[in-house]
């Protein structure tokens, strides 16, 4: 079995005096450079009543800074043939642009201007505009979508109201509508500092020259102050709940979730591999039983979220019009129990491993995906080299490791279940 060699991806690491971590991954295969900046802040750093602030903030960071006009971030990037965007997650917020290689300075200038000179350009009109845009984003992605609120409800049930994963990344509508300029300013001052960020460049550049440019643009930005600790205490008493939602849908669907140790722990990898063994492809036990043989499900999937305060193992299955969701749940629990008792078929484990090896090479193809992974492994583990070594953590998992996580973490009494039924 071939895996990815680290020689293929030379990596340089630097830390500027202000704490900014810099990862350089030169690759001359295309005349492009991917710039990827992770701030270690996400919806987990919000408080109840002010949910959605991290994501709204991400929008505000595209509204210009002291030397960049309101629509100029996208305009300057697109007029040279670049692409740009950002995204917000529970634990982090990323900003990225992929530019023609000769425009590296432009990207660094734009990112450093909003890291160092954002507040002078912030005004209430821009905030008002982006509050409306984000409320429409929430309508489009959540409130106007079939099953749109189910995932939100799942996390509300799996994590207590005090825990930062209780609320959705996009936030609640009332909180978005109520966000004020002082909230945005305080968020910036606290979290948008060079010592809370990782900057990765992947693509066609000379590493010495690139580092010099990074130092020129980011070096003068001052380091931040101490950031507040997040309280992630997690009591057990909520597990075992079943919640029923009705929705404007035709097919019933069940979401089942179990808590896991954080991303990076050995059990997390066992669980992730187990999710692939249970549902990845037509021959997998859950697809075979539910979709192929008994034909009581339209689809089934399982995944593990890479989150750092606590993780979750999630199974989602959509029924046929007359399916009893309890029957789907029983089969899911049964399939996990089969793994727990050491009876996972070796072909299922082999399939999960084989496909992972292919997927790992696949996700390193594109400069922008690779840059994002380098930022991820640097932010969470201070170890960018994991873009090539991470696969070994999966391949090191044995059938007994999978059985053990199934026994310890994925039992029916620890499940939280959301049933969505047609109204």
């Amino acid at each position: 079995m071939s895996t990815v060699s680290s020689a293929r991806f030379p990596i340089e690491r630097h830390t500027l005096a202000n704490g900014l971590q810099v990862v350089l991954q030169p690759d001359t295969s295309l005349p492009l450079v991917a710039i990827n900046l992770w701030y270690h802040v996400g919806s987990k750093n919000e408080v109840p009543g002010k949910t959605g602030l991290a994501h709204l903030f991400e929008h505000m960071l595209f509204q210009g800074s002291q030397h960049v006009g309101k629509n100029d971030h996208f305009r300057l990037v697109q007029q040279v043939g670049g692409v740009a965007n950002g995204s917000t997650w529970f634990d982090r917020t990323n900003y990225y642009e992929t530019l023609p290689a000769h425009c590296l300075s432009l990207g660094l200038w734009l990112e450093s201007d909003r890291m160092g000179f954002f507040l002078p350009a912030l005004d209430s009109e821009k905030l008002e505009n982006q509050r409306e845009v984000v409320m429409n984003e929430r309508r489009q992605r959540v409130d106007n979508q079939p099953y749109g609120r189910a995932f939100e409800r799942l996390n509300e049930t799996l994590f207590p109201a005090s825990h930062p994963y209780h609320w959705p990344v996009i936030g609640y509508m009332d909180d978005i509508a109520a966000a004020e300029q002082e909230d945005v300013e305080a968020f910036f001052r606290t979290f948008y500092t060079p010592d809370n960020a990782v900057l990765t460049l992947a693509g066609h550049f000379d590493p010495d020259e690139a580092l010099r440019l990074v130092e020129t643009y980011f070096g003068p930005i001052p380091r931040g102050l101490a950031r507040p600790e997040v309280d992630a205490t997690l009591p057990d008493e909520m597990l075992g709940q079943v919640v029923t939602l009705d929705d404007d849908i035709q097919l019933p669907r069940v979401y089942m979730a179990f808590r896991l140790p954080t991303f990076g722990e050995p059990e997390w990898y066992s669980a992730d591999l187990l999710s692939a063994a249970l549902t990845g492809g037509k021959t997998s036990p859950l697809y075979r039983q539910l979709v192929y043989e008994r034909q009581i499900a339209q689809d089934v999937s399982a995944f593990v979220l890479p989150t750092e305060l606590a993780a979750s193992f999630v199974v989602v299955a959509t029924g046929r019009p007359d399916t009893d969701l309890a029957e789907l749940e029983e089969i899911v629990h049964g399939a996990i129990e089969t793994v727990a008792s050491g009876k996972l078929r070796s072909a299922d484990l082999a399939r999960a491993r084989n496909k992972l090896v292919t997927s790992f090479s696949d996700q390193l193809q594109a400069l922008d995906d690779r840059a994002d992974l380098l930022s991820l492994f640097t932010t969470y583990f201070d170890e960018p080299q994991r873009i090539t070594s991470e696969i070994e953590r999966y391949l090191g998992q044995s059938a007994e490791d999978l059985a053990s996580v199934a026994r310890d973490r994925l039992t029916p009494e620890k499940a939280v279940t959301i049933r969505v039924i047609p109204r």
Partner: protein, 463 residues
């Protein structure tokens, strides 16, 4: 702060020396069976991406048999002369590959991506599946039931309802008049003979293209292709029935009533030109400026000025028949009237005013600059090469196209807009609460209000 530092901060840095880009080299040849082969060796890791594109798209379906092409494509890997559905899947598992068989409007696709060490096995599997599919009755029934359930879910998907309403209004009685997935009635009526005859008539080497990209040894790959596909033979490709969109005399409005909708899904459309039209490339420049990128006119107005949407965009579809030109946005319901007015005004403005030099130059450099971005992955290059095969475009098409973009003049954009946009003869589809939408939309043209369920049944969209 001294002046030098100040300058670094206050002015956007000038670009450095341009790194030249050339389209990756590829080989193109034909096998004796007529199968066109496109091969490109590029270094993106130890992977290959294989695609077989057959001229068997949903546009080859008659309305009564809508859903046939997509069902045939899904059934290809559900049983062959040598293997059952599960045996095929198990072979793919052992290769660590990802196999897809699906059809879109133009094409049936059979694709696999895997580690390059498994190239020969992947090719053999693709060739075997396309040549020896058996369409077992039990698998047909299973996928039919799955498809019928899937079609039911469209009743609560606002974007699916909008798409189906546009299709029914613009293309009544043609293959484009309903979803490529078909309707409940048409899918119920498809029998095994009908699926088999589609397979036999449309999935043949003539007119099909095989595309290989990634970590390839060209000599070994050619030998493996001849070995795997040499025995695949078949008849002449069958043309699709001509499709004519319905042009209107005036703008009209269709409201799909979802009383509880949290937002309105808005589409403004008319039939347009096929992928092979000589203006298609230039129209991409017009579209990029109008609604094809974040800084396009429509997105900046509806999102960054009015804040009534998360995003608004426009597109000309790349169908081989005359697909739609369409503006799409999910808009807060109270803003649908003003949003529609602004969108139509921008269509008029492209016809009435010449585009500024700078705006056009920005659009051109955007399109030229992002082209290599689409080639970061081996499947990105494969989809470019597949485009050549599917639309029978010459091998130097992309070089020529980039040249056309470079040379386009502001006056050309205005001529294109006058020739290809029809802002007074649009179909406006709004999926949302009718009681709130009707007062906002009545000024744009006659309104019909329909129920979601009506939209899903072909022939029930008012034309």
């Amino acid at each position: 702060m001294d002046n030098v530092k100040n300058e670094i901060r206050t002015k956007a840095p000038a670009p450095g020396g341009v790194v030249p880009f050339t389209f990756p080299h590829f080989d193109h040849f034909q096998l004796p069976s007529g199968l066109e082969v496109y091969l490109a060796s590029i270094d993106r890791g130890p992977l290959v991406s294989l695609h077989l594109a057959c001229p068997a798209g949903a546009w080859h379906d008659s309305p009564a048999k809508a859903g046939r092409a997509t069902l045939v494509a899904e059934l290809l890997d559900e049983g062959t002369e040598d293997y059952s559905a599960m045996e095929i899947a198990a072979r793919v598992d052992r290769l660590g590959g990802f196999l897809f068989s699906q059809a879109d409007w133009n094409t049936s696709w059979l694709s696999i991506s895997l580690l390059s060490q498994h190239l020969a096995a992947g090719l053999e599997l693709l060739a075997h599946i396309v040549d020896k599919a058996t369409f077992p009755a039990g698998e047909i029934e299973r996928l039919r039931q799955q498809r019928l359930a899937n079609l039911q879910t469209r009743a609560s998907q606002p974007s699916a309802l909008a798409t189906d309403a546009v299709a029914g209004a613009l293309y009544p009685g043609t293959a484009y008049g309903q979803s490529p997935l078909g309707t409940s009635d048409s899918v119920q009526a498809l029998d095994r003979n009908s699926l088999l005859s589609f397979y036999q008539q449309h999935l043949n080497p003539q007119g099909s293209s095989l595309i290989l990209t990634g970590d390839l040894d060209l000599v070994a790959a050619k030998a493996a292709i001849e070995n795997a596909f040499g025995g695949w033979v078949g008849g002449e490709p069958r043309a699709a029935a001509p499709i004519q969109g319905r042009d209107r005399e005036e703008t009209r409005v269709i409201v799909v009533d979802r009383a509880e909708a949290a937002q309105t899904t808005l589409r403004i459309a008319h039939p347009s030109v096929p992928r092979t039209h000589s203006d298609f490339g230039s129209l991409q420049v017009l579209n990029s400026l109008l609604g094809g990128k974040f800084t396009s006119r429509i997105n900046l107005i509806l999102r960054e000025e009015l804040g009534i949407t998360y995003g608004a965009s426009s597109s000309f579809s790349s169908r081989l028949g005359p697909g739609p030109f369409q503006v799409a946005a999910d808009v807060e319901t109270a803003g649908v009237g003003i949003g529609t007015e602004k969108i139509l005004a921008e269509l008029h403005r492209l016809q009435d005013e010449s585009v500024g030099e700078e705006e056009l130059q920005d659009t051109k450099t955007y399109l030229l600059g992002v082209f290599p971005y689409s080639l970061q992955r081996i499947d990105g290059l494969a989809s470019r090469l597949a485009d050549l095969g599917v639309a029978s475009l010459p091998d130097d098409y992309f070089d020529r196209q980039l040249e056309i973009v470079r040379n386009l003049e502001p006056t050309a954009i205005q001529s294109l807009a006058r020739k290809h946009l029809r802002p007074t003869r649009m179909t406006i589809v709004a999926v949302g609460p009718a009681d709130k939408l009707e007062p906002q939309l009545e000024g744009f043209g006659p309104i019909s209000v329909v129920a979601p369920q009506e939209v899903l049944e072909a022939g029930n969209v008012p034309t």
